[in-house]
């Protein structure tokens, strides 16, 4: 899998609001890149009609 560019990674990281020193930023980028193949696998799963469905219990609100 192609590695993420420094610019793309910095944009993602900026969104988190976490300010990492350069050495830690580089380490996190490596960890993220190592996770990418698993994320690709996740997105390849055929989720068909599967929803993100909340459970609604019949006794909701009862103590």
């Amino acid at each position: 899998m192609a590695s993420i560019s420094d610019q793309e990674f910095d944009l993602l990281l900026a969104r988190t609001g976490v300010n990492l020193p350069p050495v830690e930023r580089a380490r996190l980028k490596t960890i993220y890149e190592n996770l990418k193949p698993a994320l690709k696998t996740l997105h390849e799963v055929d989720v068909d009609d599967h929803e993100v469905a909340g459970d609604f219990s019949p006794d909701w609100g009862a103590d």
Binding site: N19, I31, L39, V45
Partner: protein
């Protein structure tokens, strides 16, 4: 019967309970034995982060008085326990083993802690954990527990102190918590029993969260019967936990009296015996031997196809780190230095997940739940190794290598199914190995029954680490 203090520390809860009820030993004598052993041994194991010697002895005296007056509360009365340092304990620091909460002293008990107190147990102290239940052996606060079977190895995580303390005879049982295997991994590598109950079976109120939708609270003990006793005490509805179930609580110990004849156990061999993917051949052999013994006891074992095992683990990880980031994001921005380094990588990684990643993980979660629901119409239990290998050495251990392991535990956090790790032998390195059995939601009785039948035949729990 003459008992040394060390012998007392390796009694099971059932054995100790019989002696306590029969007035053959006192809770004070038992508690003193544990405090003495902790003094002798824990400087090497590092399982305790807070020792409560004075209050433990006071609780033991109370239990002694009640038992002498004929007010015996049940199998946990006078039993010394210690719990992971993320369970709120009134008046006692609960830190999550993080500098972020170094001085946090809750004013009330977590529901499950209160229930264990109600059952008459004695709280010896709080035990070590991976920081906020995820970080890794390096944390920002306190030493980390090590493996009593080999002090150079990790004791698993994140309930690292729970596994180490139970295995080393430093408490009779311990509550851990499990978001992706954090009860079962330490149980497996420390040679103890560890149960992740069904989601909703035990209250999460007063427990520092890692991931609300994946966190489970459950016990680690030396035997399955002892796990049944602890589950009995903590199970049941709690109005303070919005995900707590109203399902009736059965008699878990009664389930142990039944045998396994007629039970069908499915084994996803295509995934869990894949040595090419990194599963240790000795783990495969030990689990196959355990399954063969369950067959001898009357169960039917057959291979099953569970395609979702290939990707259920990554769905667990994505949901876990995203929820963890949501919980910690404010503190990460304002006090990053108070988080240990492996941990802040994990949590910031959660912040890097896109909305699409998280939604896909939840949709995959729905698919995995349906796949296991279909499977559990054909079989009563699903069996596999708890983890693919024995405890790794602490030196050089990279917690992120976890992402490359075949993941046998995370799938059952996203389905919420009950899952137990029971010792199934030893690796040639001398380290323990675990068999995992999982079952239908709220069918802890069948999970415990099969684990107990195997345990009583194999009797691995009789071995002790040389400390």
């Amino acid at each position: 019967m003459a008992q040394t203090s060390s012998d007392l520390c390796f009694l099971t809860i059932r054995q100790a309970g019989e002696l306590l009820r029969g007035l053959e030993i006192s809770p004070v004598e038992l508690t003193r034995a544990f405090l003495e052993r902790i003094q002798q041994v824990d400087s090497r194991v590092h399982s305790y982060v807070t020792l409560l010697a004075d209050s433990a002895l006071a609780e033991a005296r109370t239990a002694e008085g009640e038992i002498l007056q004929g007010r015996y509360r049940g199998p946990l009365h006078g039993i010394p326990l210690a719990h992971k340092d993320l369970y709120d304990t009134a008046g006692v620091r609960t830190s999550g083993q993080s500098k972020v909460l170094e001085n946090r002293v809750p004013s009330r008990d977590a529901t499950v802690i209160a229930r264990l107190r109600e059952a008459g147990s004695v709280l010896l102290g709080k035990v070590a954990m991976y920081e906020f239940a995820l970080g890794g052996p390096e944390t920002s606060l306190f030493d980390q527990a090590v493996n009593p079977w080999d002090l150079e190895c990790v004791s698993g995580g994140s309930s690292s102190g729970s596994g180490a303390a139970v295995a080393a005879g430093l408490c009779m049982g311990s509550l851990g918590s499990d978001t992706g295997g954090s009860i079962r991994w330490p149980a497996s590598v420390c040679g103890t029993v560890g149960l992740k109950p069904t989601y909703g079976r035990s209250s999460r109120f007063g427990v520092l969260p890692l991931s609300w939708s994946l966190d489970h609270c459950g016990p680690l003990t030396r035997t399955v019967e002892d796990t049944a006793y602890m589950l009995q005490a903590i199970a049941g509805h709690d109005p303070n936990d919005p995900t707590s179930s109203r399902a009736p609580v059965p008699d878990y110990s009664a389930a142990l009296r039944e045998d396994v004849k007629g039970l069908t156990i499915g084994v996803p061999a295509h995934y869990c015996f894949d040595t090419a993917a990194g599963v240790d051949p000795e783990v495969v052999a030990a689990v196959k031997q355990a399954l063969s013994e369950l067959e001898d006891l009357g169960a039917t074992v057959r291979e099953v196809e569970v395609p979702c095992m290939e990707y259920a683990g990554i769905a667990d990880v994505v949901i876990m780190i995203s929820e963890a980031y949501a919980y910690h994001s404010r503190n990460l921005k304002s006090q990053l230095d108070n988080y240990g380094q492996p941990l802040h990588y994990w949590f910031t990684l959660g912040g890097l997940m896109s909305g699409n990643d998280v939604i896909q993980a939840h949709r995959v979660r729905s698919r995995v739940k349906r796949e296991f629901a279909d499977l559990l119409r054909q079989v009563d239990l699903v069996a596999m190794p708890t983890v693919g290998g024995p405890a790794p050495k602490t030196q050089g251990f990279d917690i992120f290598s976890f992402l490359e392991w075949p993941n046998f535990m995370g799938p059952f956090n996203i389905t919420g199914m009950p899952a137990i790790s029971v010792p199934c032998g030893f690796h040639s390195t001398g380290l323990p190995l675990g068999l995992q059995l999982t079952g239908r939601p709220f069918d802890e009785p069948t999970v415990l029954r099969a684990a107990y039948a195997y345990e009583q035949r194999a009797k691995w729990y009789e071995r002790r680490p040389a400390l």
